[in-house]
């Protein structure tokens, strides 16, 4: 820092060196201070070394114990404690201990990345993880690092309820897709979810509206709502994930499964040059242009906009089936929450009943887990009727197990309407995978949607930006390994 005694001229009776040193200390303290905030981030990058552990937790295998769970061993369970809480997992763990004599170390947390990333890096991960929430570790990143166990072994094991059947065959078809990375199932998305629009049965009855089946009807209701001082469509603007549900569902329903796969497979004409995408985005933009959005919805968080919707400030909102559980506290008693498949554009390839449906809440087993046998057995038991019902009771939601809920469990109106919707949909379900495969491309499309909803860009520009995100992703050599037919 050059000479430190430069300012000593004329300082009376101090010795020059004395003042110089004092200044030097002061300055190095300031420099040190500056490095503090940077430090925090930098040391986040640093990590410890790896460690290997041999399988001491293996017991003898048998028909009833296909993975060789060892009594008296320990199971390290980490559960995302979000909208579903973690009571269901505690109930599971109690049942597990009773049956296998394996005690579990339970961690319920929202900070999945913060708590687990250092452990993955050090080669010391937990045995089973519910990797969800805003701070989930992206599955694609974990898979690319070889940190995830191929779950084929669990899925091909005999089912707990019916040993003649493989676990795989007891699940709702297509629900394993979301956990696929490079052709292998590495995450078990346990919760069955449907996505689409939601409305209040009470509000619709009061206003004399009918649930719309076409985009025209949908716009008509929005128009009527606006004239009565209510917003048409609300969305969780701070998180453009939600409006992308509407946009992407319209594309899939208009253009059929091919239009959806074009996006997942990074087709050079996924957006620009796709009629389905063009019509869908123009339809969504019409809502913006005509002022049918709930005022201010573009800047609201999910809690804020959903609560406004619960206060009858908007007719529709986009979301997945966790909505009801998430809004339990703010939903009025007589609100009568209802699910609605995305209304149809003229000439759509899929019927009105078609819905985006699939599985969420990925459970993973790290490949370096210490107690692999118990982790696999735990996952096998998750896919039993007993545990599935336990989940439905504690978390108020469905699992991917076919008929996995005891008929005596009474469901809330919203959940009930999703059950009916998925029955009506039958095999007409679809599910995008690019959100799981390509986090960067997903962010780019979300940003473009946010700009569109705020009227700062036009549909043409949106298509260009979305296509640019696809093209950029397609250049990444790693993206060749993800394909769907």
């Amino acid at each position: 820092m050059g000479s430190t005694s430069a300012e000593n001229t004329g300082t009376g009776d101090h010795t020059p060196t004395g003042v110089g040193r004092r200044d030097l200390i002061k300055r190095s303290a300031a420099l040190g201070l500056i490095s503090v905030p940077t430090m925090g981030f930098l040391s986040a990058c640093a990590s410890g070394g790896g460690g290997e552990e041999s399988g001491e937790n293996e017991g003898r295998t048998s028909d009833s114990n296909p993975f060789g769970v060892k009594e008296g061993s320990k199971l390290d369970v980490v559960i995302f404690k979000g909208g579903y809480g973690d009571n269901y997992a505690k109930a599971w763990e109690a049942a597990f201990q009773k049956k296998w004599g394996v005690t579990s170390v339970h961690t319920g947390t929202q900070e999945i990345t913060g708590k687990l990333q250092p452990r993955f890096n050090a080669g010391n991960p937990p045995d089973i993880v519910d990797d969800s929430g805003a701070q989930q570790i992206p599955i694609d990143v974990l898979a690319k690092n070889g940190q995830l166990l191929d779950l084929a072994e669990v899925l091909d094991a005999p089912s707990v309820d019916n040993p003649d059947q493989k676990v795989r065959d007891t699940l709702i078809p297509g629900t394993l897709d979301a956990g696929m990375q490079e052709g292998k199932v590495v995450a078990l998305n346990y919760i069955y979810t449907v996505w689409g629009l939601w409305y209040s049965g009470k509000l619709f009855k009061d206003k004399g509206w009918e649930a719309p089946r076409t985009w025209g009807d949908f716009l008509a209701i929005c128009k009527d709502a606006k004239s009565q001082g209510i917003g048409g469509l609300a969305h969780q603007g701070k998180y453009p994930y939600y409006i992308n549900v509407a946009i992407m569902d319209l594309i899939a329903k208009k253009g059929g499964l091919d239009a959806m796969k074009a996006i997942d497979n990074l087709d050079p004409r996924a957006f620009v040059g796709s009629d389905a995408a063009t019509e869908a985005i123009e339809a969504v933009y019409e809502v913006v242009e005509k002022g049918y959005l709930m005022p201010g919805t573009n800047g609201l968080t999910h809690n804020e906009s959903q609560t406004r919707w619960n206060q009858y400030k908007a007719a529709f909102i986009t979301s997945g089936s966790w909505l009801e559980n998430e809004q339990l506290k703010t939903t009025p008693q007589d609100f009568d929450m209802k699910f609605l498949p995305m209304p149809l554009l003229p000439g759509s390839a899929l019927p009105f009943e078609a819905i985006r449906a699939g599985s969420g809440e990925p459970f993973i087993i790290p490949s370096k887990a210490k107690n692999l046998p118990a982790a696999k057995e735990f996952m096998r038991m998750m896919l039993s009727k007993e545990w599935s019902t336990l989940f439905a009771k504690e978390a108020n939601s469905l699992t991917i197990l076919k008929d996995g809920v005891d008929p005596n469990v009474q469901l809330r109106p919203g959940t009930q309407s999703t059950v009916e919707a998925s029955k009506a949909a039958g095999n007409n379900t679809f599910r995008y995978l690019y959100t799981e495969w390509y986090s960067e491309m997903n962010t780019a499309i979300e940003n473009a949607s946010n700009e569109l909803m705020a009227k700062r860009i036009q549909p043409k520009e949106w298509l260009k930006r979305a296509q640019a995100a696809v093209d950029k992703q397609a250049k990444d050599p790693a993206s060749k390994q993800n394909r769907r037919d």
């Binding site: 930098l42 990143v141 960067e440």
Partner: protein, 309 residues
């Protein structure tokens, strides 16, 4: 030094230096090492890629935009905060007229001091929530609510403060300034109170007005404190992670469409969300360099001759 004294001094120095080396210097070196690899952050397998991450960084529009935003913060946050704090501190301490020879604060200054200091006791996380309510994008927001009541804003199209590319940076600056002014007011007050009163009285007798006594007496005698404030605020401006990541849209903030991005938010997103940790480490190294340069420049630029009194 006498024999034994060396050992005594060394004993005191050894442990702190060792701790500093292990917990501060070593992570820096590790980070630099990682920045030369394609590390993905979830395991210890990676390849050496040389300076690829750094060349990619130069072509990264988002990161360059983030640097630009940090620079804007660096200019506006210290300037606005220090000017306001100086003004208030002067009014509270020496701005009053009439009583005790003109060297007292304006009426009620005791209370102002407490009120101004109040924001400082709030943590940044609480501030983010508080201002989230102020800037809320519908009629329920404090600003929008007031503007709608006054008839300045149409109820059906409220201002989306944090979702407007033109407003979002200023909205964030306002929060930091609101938070900081009170603290620097107290800091400057303490310094002002150590200025001998007779200097002011002499100036007053010579017919100096408020402005003159401020610029000719207060400011020069306060320069050391201003310099300290400048460095501290510069640090805050180079960081901004908590506010941006919690208040603005997007994963780790930075929205709308990267208009409020700062270096640390881009870095966190690449590090944790995209799994491009080696690349993020390169960003970390660049951040370190930039902050060091900024601090050296700031200390140099504000260096003045010291006045003793």
């Amino acid at each position: 030094m006498r024999k034994g004294q060396h050992r005594f001094v060394a004993g005191f120095l050894l442990i702190p230096v060792a701790l500093y080396l292990i917990f501060v210097i070593w992570p820096y070196i590790q980070t630099f090492g990682y920045s030369l690899t394609d590390w993905k952050g979830q395991s210890q397998t990676f390849d050496f890629v040389g300076l690829d991450n750094y060349t990619a960084l130069f072509r990264d529009d988002i990161f360059r935009g983030a640097i630009w935003h940090n620079i804007l913060f660096l200019v506006f946050i210290p300037v606005i905060t220090i000017l306001l704090a100086l003004f208030f501190a002067f009014m509270v301490n020496a701005g009053g007229r009439g009583r005790s020879g003109g060297v007292s604060g304006v009426a009620g200054s005791k209370y102002y001091r407490v009120i101004y200091f109040f924001p400082q006791v709030l943590s940044l996380a609480i501030m983010a929530v508080l201002f989230g309510a102020v800037y809320r994008s519908d009629g329920g927001g404090m600003l929008n609510g007031a503007l709608i009541k006054l008839g300045l804003v149409d109820e059906s199209s409220p201002v989306e403060w944090l979702n407007e590319p033109g407003f979002v940076l200023w909205a964030l600056i306002a929060v930091v300034v609101w938070h900081g002014v009170g603290f620097y007011l107290v800091l400057f007050s303490a310094a002002m109170q150590s200025i001998p009163r007779d200097i002011y009285e002499a100036a007053l007798i010579d017919g100096a007005g408020r402005a003159q006594s401020f610029f000719r007496i207060t400011l020069p005698l306060l320069w050391d404190s201003v310099q300290t404030a400048w460095v501290y605020l510069g640090i805050a401006a180079m960081d901004m992670f908590i506010l941006v990541s919690t208040m603005t849209a997007g994963d780790y903030g930075g929205g709308p469409d990267h208009h409020s991005e700062v270096m640390s938010t881009v870095m966190m997103r690449n590090f944790l969300l995209y799994g491009r940790s080696g690349y993020a480490c390169a960003m970390g190294v660049v951040m370190l360099l930039l902050t060091l340069i900024v601090s050296v420049v700031m200390l140099r630029a504000t260096r003045r001759e010291r006045i003793e009194f």
